[in-house]
């Protein structure tokens, strides 16, 4: 059984009055009062129709939007071993600030999460530190070395959401095949970071005009797409279930689309940075833009947007990858790969995709929660009787990313300094208040 764990918090008792409620899952779209009692959605009524019972706080949410809170199937919480970058407390605080009610952490920690005992320990830490529920993916191979399968069944019993060697590809087709066969015994999605090391070599950015002009070693798109094509075929052959992480290239989208058309049980995710940025950003040699897979070209970006719109790519994941300031403050080639993203994801996507009309708000909301379904977790939903997983967002609020720092321990956000619309005011995760924006909390008090 997959386990999501958070620190115990008092269940919320709140009346959210007059917010514009949108949940594509239930089809609700209009101004409503939402009453949360004991952490559950107790009543849903027309705006102004509900009264707050005794001892229930009223939040005047006129002009604000209330959504089912987001689920991120792909974050790095860096615990254990790299707590100078992030830990479960700071990472889940960042998640709550971004409107997320659940995140799934990757196992490329130090030590690697490849044993049930470690997972049990982490779940205990999450039970005391996690502000929003956290699930953990376990490694596919021992030590992420790609040689031997982990004890997948025991890991599942201990609560692993699924399996991934994220950060590295499963290079051996044979090992992946065995993992897929074993999946029939233990369940759990296999999430794959797709990259052929023989093609990506020492690459540090997308291989193309910009890499040639800068003299930086490139990572070609085929490094990703050939592996997706291969692994989709293997999954199909074994009738297994795989999820492709952080798609970056048009050819990767094509490979996913054709696998889905054949009926393979495959899904894909895309990050905000691959949806919004290209390798042109790397011209500055600013290491914030050093990311794996790399930011690619405008054609790739457009293909990713199209795939997100038509549902070929079913969900958005941030791949929130915190790094210490000193680690990133070095020449581009020496810097580690990755960007943080939990606190900026909704705002940048809303500002750059929804406001200009590239995708609808409903599509964005759907893709920001679909990760739950793909990982076989409960999907947040706004309906009476459901656990409250809600985020209240002021779509009109303008702010600059990073202007007041970050909840995350790290500041390596590739969107830092951008002016955006859409600020999270309140997040309720698993029935408890996980975040309140400071100014909003004060004005409400």
């Amino acid at each position: 059984m997959s386990t999501l764990v958070a620190a115990p918090r008092p269940p919320a008792d709140l009346l959210l009055r007059g917010a514009h409620v949108i949940d594509p899952g239930t089809g609700i779209d209009g101004r409503h009062d939402v009453l949360v009692r004991g952490g559950e959605i107790a009543a849903l009524g027309a705006a102004g129709s509900l009264e707050a019972p005794r001892a229930t706080e009223t939040v005047e949410a006129e002009g604000k939007h209330l959504f089912a809170a987001f689920v991120d199937p792909h974050v790095h919480l860096r615990t254990p071993g790299q707590e100078h970058k992030e830990d479960i407390e700071t990472g889940t605080r960042a998640a709550a600030a971004g409107g997320y009610c659940a995140v799934v952490a990757m196992p490329n920690t130090d030590p690697v999460l490849d044993q049930a005992a470690l997972l049990r320990g982490l779940l205990m830490v999450a039970q005391s530190d996690a502000r929003v529920p956290v699930g953990f993916m376990a490694a596919i191979s021992v030590g992420l070395r790609g040689e031997q399968l982990t004890e997948m069944s025991e890991l599942r019993d201990a609560g692993a959401v699924g399996f991934t060697d994220d950060g590295r590809p499963v290079v051996s087709a044979g090992l992946l095949r065995q993992a897929l066969r074993y999946q029939r015994l233990c369940g759990g999605v296999l999430a794959l970071h797709e990259e052929d090391p023989a093609l990506s070599g020492p690459g540090v950015m997308h291989e193309g005009t910009v890499s040639v002009e800068l003299g930086l070693a490139g990572i070609p798109s085929i490094s990703e797409s050939t592996m997706i094509a291969r692994d989709a075929l293997i999954a199909e052959h074994e009738d297994g279930r795989v999820h492709f992480q952080h798609l970056s290239a048009r050819s990767a989208v094509d490979a996913l689309r054709s696998a889905r058309a054949r009926g393979a049980k495959v899904s894909g995710e895309v990050t905000p940075h691959h949806l919004l940025l290209t390798d042109e950003a790397v011209r500055t040699l600013d290491s914030s833009f050093k990311i794996n897979p790399p930011l690619r070209t405008e054609k790739d970006r457009q293909a990713l947007i199209d795939a997100l719109r038509d549902g070929t790519i079913e969900c958005i994941a941030t791949d929130h990858a915190p790094h210490g300031r000193d680690e990133k403050n070095v020449p581009f080639e020496q810097a580690p790969m990755g960007t943080t993203g939990l606190e900026s994801a909704f705002a940048v996507l809303y500002t750059d995709l929804v406001l200009p009309g590239v995708i609808t708000l409903e599509t964005l909301l759907e893709r920001l929660t679909a990760g739950a379904r793909l990982l076989e977790l409960g999907r947040p939903s706004i309906a009476v009787g459901e656990t409250a997983n809600l985020c209240l967002i002021d779509l009109a609020a303008q702010w600059r990313i990073g202007e007041a720092g970050y909840e995350s321990r790290s500041a390596n956000c590739c969107f830092g300094g951008r002016d955006v619309n859409g600020r999270t005011l309140l997040t309720i995760a698993a029935g408890a208040v996980a975040y309140r924006e400071r100014a909003f909390a004060l004005s409400a008090a």
Binding site: G208, T209, S211, V212, E213, L214, G215, L216, L285, G324, R325, D326, N329, V330, P331, F332, E333, Q334, A404, G405, Y406, S408, R409, S410, A411
Partner: protein, 317 residues
Amino acid sequence: MRHLLSIEDLDRAAIEQIIDRATSFALVADRPIKKLPSLRGRLVINLFYEASTRTRSSFELAAKRLSADVLNLVATGSSVEKGESLRDTVATLSAYGPDAIVIRSPHAGAPGLLAGWTHAAVVNAGDGKHQHPTQALLDCYTLKNRLGSLEGCNIWIVGDLVHSRVARSCIQAFTRLGASVTVAGPPTLLPDEFAALGASVRHSLEDLREADVIYALRVQRERMEDSFGPSLREYTAHFQINARRLGSRQLLMHPGPVNRGIELTGEVIDSPQALITDQVAAGVVVRMAVLYEVLAGAPTAPGAPDNQSAALEPQTA
């Protein structure tokens, strides 16, 4: 000019100004006393993270000819070997109050980072495979001296383009001065994207006779073994500049150090068309001009680091 980080930052007028100043310094180079007082009392630090003979020595000589004090630091045997970060090394050196830091780094963009961390003027002496602006400037100077102008001149740059910072800087500098540049090499060492830099791309030397100037690049043996080509033998068969390929009216250049018998044969190196030693001599006067430009040419007040406020930000909020 506050820093010299990339040829991209220079327009034609800026390149010509450096060449003209180098020409005036060259007059002094022929005098018995070769020193000028222009940078007396200024401190120039040469910070070299890669082995270099001619670039480092010519920067040192250039600074000394202008009466500056020079401090040479190489990566081996210094705190760099003890794991000090570039940032901390620069902070340490900046405490000496240098007026200019000349940096050679194996990593693209290192000089640009430096410019944000120090008050000193920063001169890029080669960063990764990205840029080597002073090499391109001295090549322009050498050609201008010989030809009078680069306008309409056909320059072929031949060899391992993909790993060459010299090529990137030279393509930009030559084209800014009106030359047309062709790059030639095996497809594994010359991606088609080089066209975006403003050069036309060829994978053979068939039309080499079109060239007025042949600029051969150094071939690194280890790269050949690193799957960029089947063998050196096959490389030389296709791309070596030898007496058969070099026409009598074509000029020959090379940034050095030369692999004799690989990219160039001995007979062409020693031919009258070869400008290779002229390039070395130009290195000193052009680097004098660059140091003069960033130090004496700039307003006298020391500049502030370009992103000092960012540098002082706390790590996390």
